[in-house]
């Protein structure tokens, strides 16, 4: 039973670490890595949901009964989820490469400022930042003051 608790804690811990990584990183690639870790946590959780302690592998052999086997459905689902995850991650990296190509940075704040400016320009409105807005890049802001 302690093993089960450790495994569940591990899976949920991975999920939390991953989500925290997505929220707290300031680098786009690290945000993606956070997502990958969270996905691993969710997959582990799914595997644990169908695991039967002391069960055999779900392969049909003479003299074995399905009741003594590990539930194969979550394993099939995790396989699907892993495949989807790999595809999405590859796509994300391709997008990041293209973004880097356009803007020259993978920092979150720099990209975000540029994004807002781009969107405003395309919409034809003046790009304004509130004078109360927190300074996102202290180094460049200081030059304005002097």
């Amino acid at each position: 039973m302690t093993l089960a608790i450790i495994l569940y804690t591990g899976a949920i811990g991975l999920l939390v670490i991953g989500l925290a990584g997505v929220v707290m990183s300031s680098h786009l690639f690290r945000m993606l890595l956070g997502l990958v870790i969270a996905e691993a946590g969710a997959n582990l959780l799914l595997i644990l949901a169908g695991y039967r302690w002391g069960g055999a592998a779900p392969i049909w052999q003479a003299g074995q009964f399905p009741t003594t086997m590990v539930d194969p459905v979550p394993q099939a689902m995790v396989l699907t989820a892993i495949v989807i995850g790999v595809g999405v991650q590859a796509l994300a990296i391709a997008l990041l490469i293209r973004h880097r190509h356009y803007s020259g940075t993978l920092q979150r704040t720099g990209g975000l400022n540029q994004l807002q400016a781009d969107l405003d320009r395309e919409a034809g409105v003046r790009h304004t930042r509130s004078s109360d807005a927190p300074t996102l890049n202290p180094l460049t802001e200081v030059e304005h003051v002097h």
Binding site: A49, I84, V88, H99, Y102, E122
Partner: protein, 485 residues
């Protein structure tokens, strides 16, 4: 036509999507070049699915049907389930795709749109939780590709940010599904709802919350909707119309299905109501503050979806009807507004814009009024302080909505002050040609007026569909009867 044709609705677009690239290679079409042959083939595929749906769905409102896949009975195998609601969603998806399909697009766009078509129809039809998840992911990936393919330097970053949010949502939803599975050992919706109806061992509410937040990303639920203004201002009008009109509703309906069938506990609807109110307030206020047309519509769409979530959180009969009415109304009006953006506003376009705006605000003879009235009477009838708060917020939000929508109209008549829109000058002195987008917007306006004239029969049909989709016994009996011999 036998019901075995139903899976073709999902399979056919997928098949054509995979064949399109080799076909383009064989025909010698360059990847970036538009090709009328491939365009025609894609449209014909969607038209074929529309035909199948029409053939099968003529009497689903009386008797829903379920198709077992792969020769396994339902608790083990998977099934497709077609009821009145799924039928309407299928028709809406197919018609929207036919009308909004970009003619001069590259091969890749056709492929992605076909995948989008297949996955949205699968989402509407799917009868078990894991298939819902798979189709949802497929839909998401197709959307990322289509966003990234739009012109402009901002597109990759917008697409990446959407991918990250959507990926987080999927992880949460997957954990919710794992929780349900470890609790019940099944993923079939009928099986699970039988368990929920029997009262023994109701599913944990945390699973619903995880699924709500997870799938809520596409449904523009509050707090996971930061992608909405960015995506809608980067993509083309047609694609924004498709996303705001159809895809968001599919996600909403999916969440509502799960809520209705699996979680009869009263506590499950409270978070829906709360997040709906927050979405309504934040969306409408952001729309009021924004000064370009596109982002205004995007934020307003968040507010409208909040309203729909409030409606679905009400008790069964009242809420379902109001929610469906609001959803279908939004499905007509919001694409219409997005499509009007494509060209500068001129005299007749403004008339159409006023018609859409009036209906969205809820001015009496138009359908929007009846939908909003249903929601308001529902809120008052159910009572309770949270519903009271929702009713007051709803009325205030309507005033705000009227404020910003008519600001656009006002700017047009002041003429000296052009509106900042998608094009550099949104106000034109001369009537520009309507084009395809304008034509579709005109048609949507016509639909709105037609519904206004036939409001009674439409309401009755919708009420029947609402009753049917809330009917748990009917779902269970339909799915268990259809088992393979």
């Amino acid at each position: 036509m036998s019901t075995e044709w139903l899976p073709l609705v999902v399979a056919l677009p997928l098949l054509v999507a995979f064949l399109l690239q080799p076909l383009a290679h064989w025909l010698g079409v360059r990847a970036e070049r538009p090709s009328p042959v491939l365009y025609g083939l894609s449209l014909m595929t969607i038209a074929a699915t529309l035909w199948i749906t029409l053939q099968l769905g003529s009497d689903v409102i009386a008797q829903p049907l379920s198709v077992t896949m792969g020769g396994f009975n339902t608790p083990v195998g998977i099934n497709l389930y077609l009821d009145g609601l799924a039928y309407l969603l299928l028709l809406a998806t197919q018609l929207a795709l036919l009308l909004l399909w970009p003619a001069g697009a590259a091969v890749r766009t056709h492929v992605l749109l076909l995948v989008l078509a297949a996955s949205s129809m699968g989402l509407a039809l799917s009868g078990d939780l894991f298939n819902l998840y798979v189709f949802y992911e497929l839909l998401a990936v197709a959307t990322f590709g289509l966003i990234a393919a739009s012109p402009g330097r901002a597109a990759p970053l917008v697409s990446f940010r959407y991918l990250l949010l959507s990926g987080m949502g999927s992880v949460l939803a997957l954990s919710g599904i794992a929780l349900i599975y470890s609790h019940s050992g099944s993923l079939n919706l009928a099986d699970l709802s039988m368990l929920a109806a029997s009262g023994e061992g109701s599913l944990p509410i945390a699973a619903f919350l995880l699924i709500l937040v997870g799938f809520g990303v596409k449904a523009e639920l509050f707090a996971v909707n930061s992608w909405v203004p960015e995506v809608y201002s980067v993509t083309s009008s047609r694609f924004a119309a498709l996303l705001a009109g159809v895809v968001s509703k599919l996600a909403v309906v999916m969440i509502v299905r799960i809520l209705l069938l699996l979680f009869p506990q009263p506590e499950a609807t409270d978070p829906l109501l709360l997040l709906g109110i927050l979405g309504l307030v934040s969306g409408e206020l952001a729309a009021w503050r924004s000064n370009d047309f596109r982002r205004m519509l995007a934020y307003s769409s968040i507010g409208q979806l909040g309203m729909i979530f409030i409606a679905f959180s009400l008790s069964l009969e009242l809420g379902l009807f109001a929610g469906l009415a609001l959803s279908f109304h939004h499905m007509v009006v919001k694409p219409g507004l997005f499509l009007l953006l494509q060209q500068p506003l001129s005299r007749w376009r403004v008339v159409l814009l006023i018609l859409f705006a009036l209906s969205l605000v809820g001015v009496p003879p138009l359908p929007g009024f009846w939908a909003k009235l249903a929601l308001l009477t529902g809120l008052v009838e159910v009572g309770g302080w949270l519903n009271g708060v929702a009713a007051v917020t709803f009325l205030v939000a309507t005033v705000v909505e009227a404020g910003y929508l008519f600001r656009i109209v006002q700017r047009y008549y002041q003429e000296e002050r052009p509106i900042a829109g998608s094009t550099s000058s949104t106000v034109a002195a001369v009537e520009s040609p309507w084009g395809w987008e304008g034509g579709v917007a005109l048609m949507l306006g016509g639909v709105l007026l037609a519904v206004t004239l036939t409001i009674n029969p439409v309401t009755e049909q919708l009420q029947q569909i609402a009753l049917q989709s809330g009917d748990r016994e009917r779902l269970i009996s339909t799915i268990t009867v259809s088992e393979v011999e």
